[in-house]
Amino acid sequence: MKLKQLAIFLGTLLAIPLLMLRNVNGMKSMKEKIKLVVIGNGPVGHNFLEYLVESGESDNYQVTVFGEEPLPAYDRVHLTSWFKNQSVDDINMVSEGFYPSNNFTLHSGDKVTQIDRFKRVITSDAGLEVSYDKIILATGSVPFVPPVPGHDRDNVFVYRTIEDLEKITAAAKTGKVGAVIGGGLLGLEAAKALMDLDLKTHVIEFAPRLMAVQIDDGGGKMLSRKIQDLGVSVHTQKNTQNIGDGETAFHKMSFADGQELETDIIVFSAGIRPRDELARQAGLGMGARGGVVINNNCLTSDNDIYAIGEVALWDNKIYGLIAPGNTMAKAAVDHLTGTGSSEFAGADMSTKLKLMGVDVASIGDAHATTPNSRSYTYVNDREEVYKKIVVSEDDKHLLGAVLIGDAAEYGSLLQFMLNKMELPSEPEGLILPSLDGSSSGIGVDALPDSAVLCSCMNVSKADVINAVEAGASDMAAIKSCTKAATGCGGCTALVTQVLNCELEKQGVEVNTNLCEHFSYTRQDLYNIIRVEKIKSFEELLENHGSGLGCDICKPTTANILASCWNDHVLDNKLQGLQDTNDYFMGNMQKDGTYSVVPRVPGGEITPEKLIVLGEVAKKYDLYTKITGGQRVDLFGARSEQLPDIWRELVDAGFETGHAYGKSLRTVKSCVGSTWCRYGVQDSMALSILLENRYKGLRSPHKLKMAVSGCTRECAEAQSKDVGIIATENGWNMYVCGNGGMKPRHADLFASDLNDVDLIKYIDRFYMFYVRTADRLQRTSVWMDNMEGGLEYLKSVIIEDKLGLAAELEQEMSAVVDTYQCEWKTTIEDPEKMKRFGHFVNSKLHDENVIFTTEREQIRPALTSERTSETA
């Protein structure tokens, strides 16, 4: 008793100072949560909430969020990818259940109209009144529309929200010509969108060059040239004075120099203005040209109101990029909750982008305004490349750079500048093409651990090192655990270098050798086999390997030989290389029996054939199941039964389904336009055609495809290596999806293709994969590890950047032309048939294969069930 009382007494004594401490910090007890209102549900407002959850303090807050837009936060940086599917899924930032599971209240489609700082209440458009203790102002910015006469006409737009894109898409249906006013970064992105909407596109720029803020004159010229090559007309030094009725098109634009341009659609992209009207009305401190003034903790002039993102003015600057906004969000969370000490102390505005497929990068002092700085420029008119670096007077430090047409050096140049690293003597070498093929740039080892490699996601070199220490060993893993390289992608090359360097250092030898017998990668071996026309493992081993080979290099070689020459799996020189699944042309099950999976292209099957499957299964007493790939699997066949089973199936018109091979599995399909009321194309016919085309192709790992007849996507094409979705105008092709262990949604690769182009692209895509992937690397991982990723792949497959297209197509058609059903050929050869017996010297069966019955079918008996049977 006494002890307990003492404990209570001590407890109260301790509790008093604790409580006082809490009050000093303005915190409240658990019961009374701090009322936090977040105004604006854009990317930065949302990232604030993510950081709040990460801080572990969100339970102490009663959070109410207002967003004027009808949808919860989406990734505005990737707004343009909305055009892909016209669906918000691709850019949605909010993971399922994020708001409810954290008890955050979200009012989408409701705008905050007033902040009453005396009553400490905000009012919304819908009439809600919410009292607050703290406010986060994340209202972002709006496009600036200069008050040119006619700016308020119909068919004049801005480019900022999903609704804007919806309106532009609708207007583009009836228009032919589009003009973007503003040749900055966003203007060019808008121009790309207009071009993709099949409009004849013009870019009107007031300044003498494009992207005047970020790049210099020489760079601007090269950029104009490249963009004009793409079919966009660029008009610089044009001051729009009036927009009126057109004669051949909806509008006529008149410029100060007397010229005119007729266009159906106009998109203004002439800069942004912070959305500071609420703050202004509430009397917060403002900049002379707008923006809510904040300090390093992101506090405004009111200690209970923070401002973050594009509405915030720090050191008289508005930051129109996402990375600084995220840094502000983190600083605000740290200050609000006291869980961290990060501050916003300005941000580097260097950028690298791909505009209309053109690499553009700008770093630091791109205009060489630093007194006495020196510049080095490299211009290549043939390749249309422009590069400039700006360095300090003594050649020691990088101050800025502009890269157009090829921005490969962006990552290392940026690191030189940010970390004030000393440049090599003759710094021009950094941008000159190296004639001996060796790459210039920096040893990433020299980078300090604090170096920020990925500015979008604020990932430092130390973060990457930690991830490697925790077991991440490829780019895919780095992306998923650090988020590095998942924003603009500009840092991919650099992050990959750091990854490899760390792996090497930590003794995880980045040994890309296939196995101890070959000091080559799978890709090397592929090239050797192709170039030297090698036809057997012995030949390869003798000339390029050592030892006897193993269960890694033998099947890999067999697989490459098949991709190249497509001889039968049981060809004498190949059969000893095949893994048991390929040797017995069935998947070995846990008890040593095999499965039988005949091909059912597209999942379409006649009742007659279905009956055959049933009859065969019944006759040989096989366990029967519908697979996840729209066909039927018969399990429990003993090796010696396989030839008889297959003879019956082949006689009934079936072919092998290659369920065992590293090869095409199925082309899943929906029923499509022939039956479905929504179908817009005949997905069934296409899937059968594709399955018949690619069946039997041996590849680094298995291949899966699907075709859906409309965007409802019943065939789940976006989870396949190649997925196809019908559109009104043809087919959209998606690549590098994966189900399985680490699901990945496929990326849109090309739109509205006709059948011929579609097949051409798939041919090239698969053959490029066959050439370059690692052993057992699915297309998803292959692309995630590829420098340049999707864009690079497009450049190789669609634009034929490597000049390989014709070769790839030819190689594919060689495979297609030499297709044979492996089972059919096998049962026709008595020599081969002999090898299926379990014993070499007896016709008996393996008595260890014991089945029991469950739900009216066989299954392998468990050990316990076996003993009871023998007992």
Partner: protein
Amino acid sequence: MTTAHQQWFDICNIDDILPSMGRCALFNELQVAIFRVIDQSGQEKFYAIDNFCPFSQSNTLSRGLTGSITDKIVVASPIYKQHFELSTGLCLEDDSVSVKTYPVRLNGCTIQLAA
């Protein structure tokens, strides 16, 4: 090991087992996996071990791929891919596991096992 007192039994013809592959023989009611391998010096060698794979509890070792790991001649279990040294039956991945080995030889064109 081969000793003078061993009695040899004919199992099959050499052509019944393809180079670098294995087959299973029924021998004294036992399942024996026989392998035909050309070793590093170019010599043809025969090995015999249990067909029973202790990891998967199935009679499958004869259907594994042969090869070499460092200087050891091995077979890889076709189910979970553990390696067994053919001359000793030792498992490379787990030294507490091994399979039995049997005397085997080529006599003319006939492959023989001894009890």
